[in-house]
């Protein structure tokens, strides 16, 4: 079974609004990563947050990590139509040498 579970499965908002996606996982991790996927093509790496970090920013993206709750969130501020995509969290746990992905959140930005 997949380690990460994303919530919600689908999210539709107006352009300019903020979008928040959540991810929960089951076991201790080395790091957690967020990826974007447009129209079933390749994954684009957005942010990597390590287990000893609590928050990271990259442009309009903000990621938080709460290891006590085994959860992470991705916030996209001032959304744009180009942000329409599927977003996946992926956990990299110690010694695994692999990423375990959740089912993803399908984000739609309405103009």
């Amino acid at each position: 079974s997949q380690q990460g579970e994303e919530d919600p499965q689908a999210l539709s908002i107006q352009e300019g609004e903020n979008a928040t996606m959540n991810c929960s996982y089951k076991t201790s991790i080395n790091n957690l990563q967020w990826y974007r996927q447009n129209s079933g093509r390749g994954l684009v790496h957005l942010i990597l947050i390590r287990s000893n970090e609590r928050e990271k920013h990259s442009g309009r993206l903000r990621v938080t990590l709460d290891t006590s709750k085994k959860s992470s969130s991705l916030l996209i501020t001032a959304s744009r139509a180009a942000d329409t995509a599927s977003y996946f969290c992926a956990t990299d746990f110690w010694g695994a040498q692999k990423l375990v992905f959740g089912q993803g959140t399908r984000l739609t930005i309405n103009p």
């Binding site: 079933g40 390749g42 990597l48 996946f88 040498q97 692999k98 959740g102």
Partner: protein
């Protein structure tokens, strides 16, 4: 700087046939991983290659095999194709010691 290159982009095969997918990693990366993504699902880890050896394997049957060449490029082979093997196959490269991965655009395999 070229990223991860995968070929072909699309492929249609008949059930029972064999297929080979190819991947060239990002410059400077020495590790290649393969993932299978069914429609509407998250990617599932198939295996990872480092120093021309399979370092880690996911829950996939032996019909799935791979190879890594001295130039770090990699192939994924699937024998005796089943309809359920229809999926997007993603290659990801990384370098030892860094946790981030660079993904290719994938190969869309359809088995009919």
């Amino acid at each position: 700087d070229a990223g991860v290159t995968q070929s072909p982009t699309h492929l249609i095969k008949t059930r029972g046939q064999q297929v080979t997918l190819r991947c060239s990693p990002k410059s400077g990366h020495d590790t290649v991983s393969w993932y299978q993504q069914a429609l509407g699902q998250g990617p599932q880890f198939i295996f990872q290659y480092y120093e021309e050896e399979e370092r880690q394997r996911g829950n996939f049957p032996d019909r799935f095999s791979g190879h890594q060449f001295p130039n770090y490029s990699s192939e994924l082979n699937v024998n005796a194709l089943l309809l359920g093997d229809s999926a997007l196959y993603l290659c990801a490269s990384s370098s030892t010691g860094y946790g981030g991965y660079t993904f290719g655009s994938g190969t869309r395999l359809t088995v009919v």
